[in-house]
């Protein structure tokens, strides 16, 4: 493998031949560079898409800081090179390297991939290939880096099981230290690669696919998952932190323009709304908040250390933050004169949100966003996101009259049992919003309608349902295209191929690994990029391995079906999800679970952690004597 000096001198020849070479050189403000020889463990964190997107990923930022805080380890970064750079690197035999020290990735001890969504899978393979690391876990030995992954997509790790040595399930703040320490003791003893994998499997929250066997029934569904060593965990329960640690503030400041040029401060983790389609809402429980003072101080220190002009308060549902009004006032007081732009995503649809946004005083160029997701009362009850039309219209009216000219509305089609009438209602509601806007501000009023297609995600109450077929999706999109024709309405929708690919990959089992490999080999990469469509490659890859893609997506699941992800536990019980699915069929709404506990399973699963972090730290209401379940046993 080339050393850093060799890599740098080859790079100098190619950097000026590619677009945006600043992506590939590092050297940004606030990076950490340690002496390679002085630390035991070298970790490279990889976001498998381009720098422009990956640099703002907060999860990796947290892990980067966690590892660099250790005197015995260093963390560096790598991203996927864009097509032009990949070509230049391959033809000049430059292996993929880290931005900080320019060491080849193959020289690291641990490669940690962030996999927040499924369409990054082929990029992850491409990165291993560019790094000169064997793709399949079983082909690697003790001389290769340990390859691990974490992130929301890893709640169904099986489509990537053949390539990753281990997955870290859940929140990374603590587990990353366990992994580094296990790696250090293994290295000290000079054991085999298998010894390392077995040691890793003893860390709660670490899933090592090679020590579990999957058995199938004749119909292709799973019969059961078997652990191959007796003291492995089954199920593998996610890790969480009881109290959110201080948020990162020394953000790396890119020297080139990137997609999200801003500081992000996580206000809270988890969501209590219980929307039944929402993967994040189910897997990130319980809800834990930071204090107003902690958030404001973090924002201030981050702005000081970065000089960014924009900051974003992150959470799954900003309006549900207990002290949201206080927070917005405190921010106004602290930063009112500083010409900063603050974004507050995922606000509830009500007039309070308009007031909040108004107080933050930034509307330049952006629209006011509403996400009702469905447009009929029936459908809203089914998805458990119940907002009456009148409330939506009132919010839109308030936004138009407070100076916004564009309302952005987000809907999904393809919800379970959706009919033409439910889709037509989307068009009707959008037209009503525009009518209100015209009445209030005349011809300037605009509506941007964004219509996604529902994918039944693992670990949600809808995991039993089938996806719409391409024909159904097309018919529904046609209704919208036909009925939303006003020149002040802009309609965007998700390409059917993108939805299907996301659905296959998120619902896949172990057999999908070979499909992912074949698709990558035949040229699939950057699958999250709409201009990189390689749909036929994917269909061919399924055919190559004798698999029917429809098996994964267009099939209503049996009530007692064992899912390929059942052995991975987000702490929420499968039974709870099933009850909630049943309630959905009956059109029964469940209110915010801060008000009433529906016993999703989080409290008994993490009873010890809850006891250590009592009272207001978690927003779960008090329940009588939670049943104790030792970590790792069957919930």
């Amino acid at each position: 493998m080339l050393n850093p000096q060799q890599i740098e001198s080859r790079l100098e020849r190619i950097l000026l031949t590619v677009q945006k070479p600043g992506r590939y050189v590092g050297g940004e403000l606030n990076i950490t560079i340690k002496d390679w020889e002085q630390v035991q463990t070298h970790v490279a964190f990889i976001f498998p898409d381009i720098y422009d997107l990956g640099i703002s990923n907060v999860g990796l930022k947290i892990l980067y800081n966690q590892v660099n805080q250790r005197p015995d380890a260093l963390a560096e970064r790598a991203y996927a090179p864009w097509l032009d750079m990949e070509e230049a690197m391959r033809s000049n035999h430059i292996p993929l390297y880290s931005l900080e020290s320019k060491h080849a990735l193959a020289d690291f001890d641990i490669l940690g991939f962030s996999l927040p969504y499924e369409t990054l899978y082929t990029n992850a393979l491409n990165i291993l290939d560019l790094a000169g690391v064997p793709l399949y876990s079983k082909e690697r030995d003790a001389t290769h880096p340990l390859v691990i992954a974490g992130g929301h997509a890893c709640y169904n790790p099986e489509p990537m099981h053949a390539f990753m040595d281990a997955f870290a399930i859940g929140e990374g703040e603590e587990i990353i230290h366990d992994i580094v320490e296990v790696h250090q003791s293994w290295k000290a003893t000079g054991g085999s690669r298998n010894d390392l994998l077995i040691a890793l499997a003893k860390i709660p929250g670490v899933y090592v696919p090679s020590i579990y066997a999957h058995h199938y029934l004749d119909d292709g569904t799973i019969s059961h998952v078997e652990k191959l060593i007796p003291d492995a965990f089954l199920p593998i329960v996610k890790r969480i932190v009881g109290k959110l640690p201080p948020p990162p503030t020394r953000f790396i400041v890119p020297n080139i323009e990137v997609v999200h040029d801003r500081v992000s401060v996580e206000v809270m983790r988890g969501c209590t709304r219980g929307c039944r389609f929402c993967h994040a809402g189910m897997i990130s429980r319980p809800i834990r908040e930071r204090s107003v003072a902690e958030v404001v101080d973090a924002a201030e220190s981050a702005i000081r250390s970065t000089g960014f002009q924009e900051f974003s308060l992150m959470s799954l549902s900003s309006s549900d933050y207990t002290h949201i009004l206080e927070l917005v006032s405190a921010i106004g007081e602290r930063f009112g004169k500083d010409r900063l732009t603050l974004s507050l995503p995922s606000l509830r649809i009500d007039t309070v949100s308009v007031e909040l946004m108004d107080r933050l005083g930034n509307r330049r160029g952006t629209g006011f966003t509403l996400a009702p997701e469905a447009a009929t009362e029936r459908m809203r009850r089914i998805i458990n996101k119940f907002i009456p039309d009148e409330q939506i219209l009132e919010t839109a009216r308030a936004a138009y009259s407070h100076g916004w000219t564009t309302i952005k509305v987000y809907f999904m089609i393809g919800h379970p049992s959706e009919t033409e009438e439910d889709v037509e209602a989307i068009a009707r509601l959008c037209n009503s919003i525009l009518t209100e806007g015209r009445r209030l501000i005349g011809g300037r009023a605009k509506v941007h309608v964004s219509v996604g297609t529902f994918v039944p995600k693992p670990h949600t109450p809808f995991q039993w349902v089938s996806c719409d077929t391409p024909q159904q999706i097309e018919a529904k999109q046609d209704i919208l295209k036909h009925k939303l024709r006003d020149r002040n309405i802009k309609l965007t929708w998700t390409a059917i191929e993108d939805t299907l690919l996301e659905a296959w990959l998120s619902r896949g089992d172990r057999r999908l690994s070979d499909v992912v490999h074949t698709a990558w080999k035949n040229g699939a990469k950057f699958d999250a990029w709409q201009d990189q469509h390689r749909y036929s490659i994917w269909r061919d890859a399924f055919a190559n391995h004798g698999l029917d893609p429809d098996f994964y997506t267009h099939r209503q699941r049996r009530v007692d079906e064992v899912f390929p992800w059942d052995h991975i536990s987000p702490g929420v019980r499968k039974n709870y999800l099933f009850q909630d699915f049943r309630k959905s069929l009956e059109g029964e709404v469940r209110v915010d679970c801060r008000e009433q506990c529906y016993a999703c399973g989080i409290l008994p699963q993490f009873a010890d952690l809850r006891r250590e972090n009592p009272g207001d730290l978690w927003k779960c209401p008090d329940v009588k004597s939670p049943r104790r379940i030792p970590a790792g046993s069957q919930a």
Partner: protein, 211 residues
């Protein structure tokens, strides 16, 4: 007050373009707590003005930027604060307070000096003879982005300087800089038969009208 800062741009910052450099100055000032003035109008912008765009990949040894401040401040303190807040690769070398009524910095630049290092060994005799050839031409017609132009009048000087290593001479040149006619060192290199990827180019000096 209006400040003129001389700075160098090197290291990985070579690969940061002009617009991004503008943003870097903006952020550096914000981190340093320097009270920049803002333009009037609907989208107020901080008043930062760079002398002349440095092409991507070039090292800048003595680049110039003007900053406008809302109030008078101690120059040494500003220099210290800005340097502490600057990203790797941005080094401030001097600061002076200038007459706010001076014309825009861009309009004051009339030419620039460049130094070119070759990444591969070259034959100095061969290069020297090409130089002589170019300098003796009355006109060097070229095309850039589909437009015809004459490179010769933009080229004010061109010299090959020997170093200790026989095969690594340094090429220096002075080219004119103006909104309508800016000479580019890559174009000169192309005339000499070199591709810019195999060289390292430094802009060593910006020459202003009265300097």
């Amino acid at each position: 007050m209006r400040l003129r800062i001389t700075f160098s741009k090197s290291g990985t910052l070579r690969y940061t373009g002009h617009l991004d450099l503008h943003r870097i100055w903006e952020r550096t000032c914000r981190r340093a707590g320097i009270p920049l003035s803002y333009s009037q109008g609907f989208h107020p912008q901080p008043r930062i003005s760079l002398a002349a765009a440095l092409p991507l990949g070039f090292i800048g040894q003595a680049e110039l930027v003007d900053l406008w401040l809302d109030q008078d401040e101690d120059l040494n303190q500003i220099l210290k604060d800005l340097q502490a807040a600057a990203p790797p690769g941005l080094m401030l070398t001097s600061i002076q307070s200038i007459d706010p009524q001076q014309p825009a910095l861009q309009t004051q630049v009339n030419s620039a000096d460049y130094e070119v290092v070759f990444l591969d060994p070259v034959d100095p005799l061969h290069v020297t003879s090409s130089l002589t050839g170019i300098l003796s031409c009355v006109s060097i017609p070229r095309q850039r982005r589909g437009k015809d132009y004459d490179l010769r009048p933009l080229l004010k000087s061109l010299e090959l300087i020997r170093t200790d290593n026989e095969n690594s001479p340094i090429l220096t040149m002075r080219l004119s800089v103006s909104p309508s006619a800016t000479g580019r060192p890559e174009e000169v290199l192309a005339e000499l038969g070199f591709s810019p990827e195999n060289t390292r180019i430094t802009r060593t000096r910006l020459i202003l009208d009265n300097g």
